[in-house]
Amino acid sequence: MIVNEHLVIAMKEGNEQSFSSCYKQLSPLIYSIVFRICGRSAIAEEIMQDSFIQAFTSLPQLKDNKHFTPWIKRIAFNKTMTHLNKIKHEVAATDEHLGSLKSDDLDGTLIHQNQLAFLMGHLSAEAKLIIWLFIVEGYSHKEIAVITNKTQSYSKSIVSRNLEKLRNIEKGENNAL
């Protein structure tokens, strides 16, 4: 889903209807991504609202109107990371805990239906964000490091470890068949 360039121009000109159209087009996408990472609807909704508010109020700063969608997504990712940093101490599950997952914990049907959903379902929020940025959004590890405020090696290890895990599960399933 990419917001039309003309719609962005209309928003910059102050057309109130265009803001509503933009929100209708993009809010489910932004909300869904944040919800998948955070896992809480209320928080996802708040981050989504904050992202739209920031995007709408700082619209004059957007130089290329074609890039509105990736721009608002980036705002949402930054806000999600800020939220994750805030609640870090409350998160019980860590990557180390997730490393102990065994293939018998996993639903074989789900893995074939949607591997990404399966993968995301077993990760910490931060790891989900890294995986999403790398695989879906196509961010480089350098860009992820900026958003997460971690080293590139950190996101590299998260990605490679979890992809490897997924491959091993698939191999195990194939062997079992």
């Binding site: 102050g14 909300y31 609202q49 591997q115 490679s160």
Partner: protein
């Protein structure tokens, strides 16, 4: 040497050549592409209808100044022009009146120095005193100017009459 996950997603020519010849990397690339495709098939959730209310409240209001700025600027320029004109005109009138007063004083001094008999200037003096009364009451610069001009004309006439009499 196999490609890293990043090289697979953002492959350059060298990496592409390797992928073409490496089954392991091809499989890993396929997996990444499948995961990305999976993202598109994920269910999209809808935020609550109330979420829009807060966002809507923050929408920057359209600047409506274009609607009234033009007439406002015209009104402002008219006010400035009128004020400037009045100010300059006032200064000009002051300057004129000062000149007329100076002329009037000069005429009066000439008349005093002549020491004329009151019979000769009686009527004219009465007329000048009437002008002086009006000058004290008058506020308008324009009217004051006219009165000073009238006063000077009267004095000039007295002087001219006296001068002609002396010649005769």
């Amino acid at each position: 040497m196999h490609c890293s996950d990043e090289e697979l997603l953002h492959s350059d020519t060298e990496a592409q050549l390797h992928i073409e010849s490496c089954k392991d990397c091809q499989q890993r690339l396929l997996q990444l592409q499948m995961l990305k495709a999976d993202a598109e098939s994920l269910t999209e959730y809808q935020p609550s209808d109330f979420a829009w209310i807060r966002v809507k409240a923050s929408i920057p209001q359209k600047k409506k100044r274009h609607a009234f700025m033009f007439p406002l600027s015209i009104a402002a320029s008219v006010i400035v022009t009128v004020t400037l004109t009045l100010f300059i005109n006032n200064k000009w009138q002051d300057h004129n009146i000062e000149q007329l007063v100076a002329t009037s004083n000069a005429y009066e001094q000439q008349l005093v120095s002549m020491q004329l008999p009151s019979a000769l200037v009686g009527n004219n003096l009465w007329e000048i005193s009437q002008i002086d009364i009006q000058l004290n009451l008058e506020q308008s610069k324009r009217s004051q100017k006219k009165l000073w001009q009238k006063r000077n004309a009267t004095l000039k006439q007295v002087l001219a009459t006296t001068f002609n009499n002396e010649i005769i």
